[in-house]
């Protein structure tokens, strides 16, 4: 836990073995998180509620003292620097706008703390409000703003002080679905324009995948995987990531043969499946992952042309797609499949179909039997 051997020491923001334990509570909230964020990039910390992602963010902000580990900015250890001298902009989940100040007052608060002269303060407040497109509401009381507007004020307030790092805690969770999409693009635009190193915490995989340059998936206080959105989605490091980031069919089996980046896996009820991904040696346990939308079902195709033969158990129409549940063979595993609707007539339940996935199978390592010995930041590079 002391030195997990992070290669990317040169990262702008580095978290080194961060641990947070709370007295009286069993187990740690954060169990050794190490990662590095490149200058000017945007990292999403993704995980279900209670996985320790917000606590991690708060440790970075200096609002929560880590029980162990370090936080480095530009290689400088800031672990013992109090929050108000850490120079990090934070956007809180509840926005935490000061109700006794108007929009401009909220935005200029950090500048006043930094003793910025009045004239420059006014100029920078206006600039920040222009950046979030709220310059027309400078005199408005924050209680009179809509959720989206409050969001923008919180963003402007955090950015106006030109912090070294911007931290956002579930920034979109209090907005309705439509506004969320708009704000997603808006935050991304502002981040690109300012070029500020950004970390945001979310439980929404769409948010993480669509906004971030890299995604850190957390589970039960641990970092499960760190990678680009494509890596995390296409090459999950474990069962949890495979199922949390998008939907997945996971078929447990045993590795039979290894050839370069491909392995042949023996899956009970399905036979031998070829999957990409690293398997250390034959005999290892592992699962074959196939995303539902990569599975095609064909009622006309001749038997044996695909990966397996199966029967449609149910078909659900959702508007954009048709979601199927199929059983392989007579008593094989059940799979989820998803087809765009309208392409052809949906298969009725009971239809015999040929199942194929055209090389989309991916080998996912089986969960390590003793998780306590797992090195934190396995997926980190």
């Amino acid at each position: 836990m002391t030195d997990p051997g992070i290669a990317a020491r040169e990262g702008h923001l580095v978290l080194d073995g961060l641990v947070k334990t709370y007295p009286g509570r069993h187990g740690a909230a954060v169990r050794g998180v190490s990662l590095s964020v490149e200058r000017g990039s945007m990292l999403a910390v993704l995980g279900p509620s209670g996985c320790g992602k917000s606590t991690t963010l708060r440790m970075v902000a200096g609002l929560v003292a880590p029980s162990a580990g370090r936080v480095l900015v530009d290689g400088r250890d800031v672990t013992d620097t109090p929050a108000h001298r850490r120079d990090m902009g934070v956007v809180f989940q509840s926005y935490a706008l000061f109700p006794h100040l108007d929009v401009a007052g909220n935005v200029s608060f950090g500048l006043e703390m930094r003793k910025v002269p009045r004239a420059e303060r006014a100029r920078r407040v206006t600039q920040a409000l222009e950046l979030v497109r709220l310059d027309h509401l400078a005199g408005r009381r924050v209680a009179r703003l809509s959720g989206g507007q409050q969001q923008r004020v919180a963003l402007a307030r955090a950015l106006v002080v030109r912090p070294t790092v911007l931290l956002l805690d579930e920034p979109l969770s209090n907005l309705d679905a439509q506004l969320r999409t708009t704000m997603r693009e808006e935050i991304r635009r502002i981040q690109r324009e300012t070029g500020i190193t950004t970390v945001f915490v979310t439980h929404d995989q769409h948010e993480a995948l669509s906004m971030a340059d890299s995604v850190a998936v957390m589970h039960e206080g641990r970092l499960e995987q760190l990678g680009s959105p494509q890596e995390v989605y296409e090459r999950p490091a474990g069962h949890f990531v495979a199922e949390f980031v998008g939907r997945a069919n996971l078929l447990p089996g045993t590795v039979a043969r290894v050839a370069g980046n491909e392995a042949e896996v023996e899956v009970p009820g399905l036979g031998t499946v070829t999957a990409t991904g690293h398997a250390p040696a034959p005999g290892d346990r592992g699962s074959v992952m196939v995303r539902p939308h990569r599975i095609s079902l064909d009622a006309e195709a001749p038997a044996g042309s695909g990966a397996a033969r199966g029967t449609v158990l149910s078909a659900g129409y959702t508007g954009e797609t048709v979601a199927y549940r199929v059983r392989v063979g007579a008593d094989g595993p059940e799979l989820d499949a998803e087809h765009p609707s309208g392409a052809h007539r949906p298969h009725a339940p009971g239809t015999e179909v040929e199942i194929s996935w055209d090389g989309a199978a991916r080998l996912v390592p089986a969960p390590t039997p003793a998780p306590e010995t797992a090195k934190p930041g396995d997926g980190a590079t």
């Binding site: 108000h84 001298r85 990090m88 000061f98 109700p99 608060f109 924050v142 209680a143 307030r157 002080v161």
Partner: protein, 326 residues
């Protein structure tokens, strides 16, 4: 129906409104359906016992004492029933009573300032603590409210007296040679009253500190505010309305406080409350006591007016243009 109306119509002017609603439904239900329970009739029946009680024990006495202020006191406790402003002019022309009024305001102001200063940290602590003993800590701070003020005042006599805890301790340590005069004067009354009213202030402050979200303090810290700046720029403005309300309550309570000034003051601290009692019971001069009571009520009114002004000012600053909108 009409009987119910006249029954409650004798109360304060405002309660006429309740039976007034009855005629609106009368044409439909009519006298033919006397057993029908309309909301207005049910309300009248439910409110009646309480209204009668309040009329007897609160409204009537106040009218009587107000009337008494316009009577003329005669020597030996006799009263001449008349309608004169003479007692008012006598009292207001007497320097002694002006000194009493001034003393009352002075005591109220001092007690309010000290009570707020001492209660604020405790209320802040209780509002923010996440300790699992929070319930107990709140109870410990507020329970004195329900404990006899005579018993608590007696405790202060034991602490502040010339043979009391403070003097004994200071003398045994050798800091002083002769006892400090802490009782039988204003100092003692202010100290004891401050403690007596603290639970009230703490209670009001805690319930008024609802806007104090710890996340706001964290937000301020993340923007570069140190502890003092957070206190001055965020905590203080947000808690000001609660502090003001507590201040009003303490000021009003200490303006009319009787037990502590009498016992700790030892007959040497004259305020409106002690004066009212002495005039009524010792001097048997009811008209003067009534006039002093009216002056106390006027003082109350003035305080409330000032408070309302201040509160509106503060609310506007804290909440925005007088609105809790959205």
């Amino acid at each position: 129906m009409t009987a119910g109306g006249t029954g409650t119509g004798t109360g304060t002017g405002s309660d006429r409104a309740a039976p007034a609603a009855a005629p609106a439904v009368a044409p439909r239900s009519g006298p033919a359906a006397p057993g029908r329970w309309t909301p207005a009739r049910t309300a009248t029946a439910l409110l009646l016992p309480g209204l009668v009680a309040l009329l007897l024990t609160y409204a009537m006495p106040l009218v009587w004492v107000a009337r008494m202020a316009f009577n003329e006191p005669l020597p030996g406790g006799a009263i001449r029933q008349t309608l004169t402003l003479g007692t008012f002019t006598d009292v207001l022309g007497d320097a002694h009573y002006w000194r009493v009024i001034w003393r009352t305001v002075e005591l109220g102001t001092l007690v309010t300032v000290f009570t707020l200063l001492l209660s604020y940290p405790l209320a802040l602590f209780l509002a923010r603590t996440t300790s699992r003993w929070r319930g107990l800590l709140v109870a410990l701070a507020v329970t004195p409210l329900l404990i006899s003020s005579v018993a608590r005042t007696f405790g202060w006599m034991a602490i502040l007296g010339s043979q009391g805890v403070v003097n004994k301790t200071l003398m045994s340590v050798g800091l002083i040679d002769t006892p400090l005069q802490l009782a039988n004067n204003m100092t003692g009354v202010v100290i004891a009253s401050t403690e007596i009213y603290m639970p009230f202030a703490i209670l009001v402050m805690i319930s008024g500190f609802g806007r104090l979200d710890p996340e706001l303090e964290r937000a301020a810290a993340s923007l570069g505010a140190g502890r003092l700046a957070v206190l001055r720029r965020v905590v203080l403005p947000l808690t000001l309305p609660g502090v003001l309300t507590a201040g009003l309550l303490v000021f009003v309570l200490s303006l009319s406080g009787y037990v502590t000034p009498r016992l700790i003051g030892g007959g040497r601290v004259f305020v409106l409350a002690t004066e009212i009692y002495d005039e009524a019971i010792t001097a048997l001069n009811w008209p003067v006591a009534a006039v002093l009571s009216m002056l106390l009520l006027v003082l109350f009114g003035l305080v409330v007016v000032v408070y309302t002004r201040l509160q509106r000012l503060v609310e506007r600053r804290v909440l925005g243009e007088g609105g809790t909108a959205s």
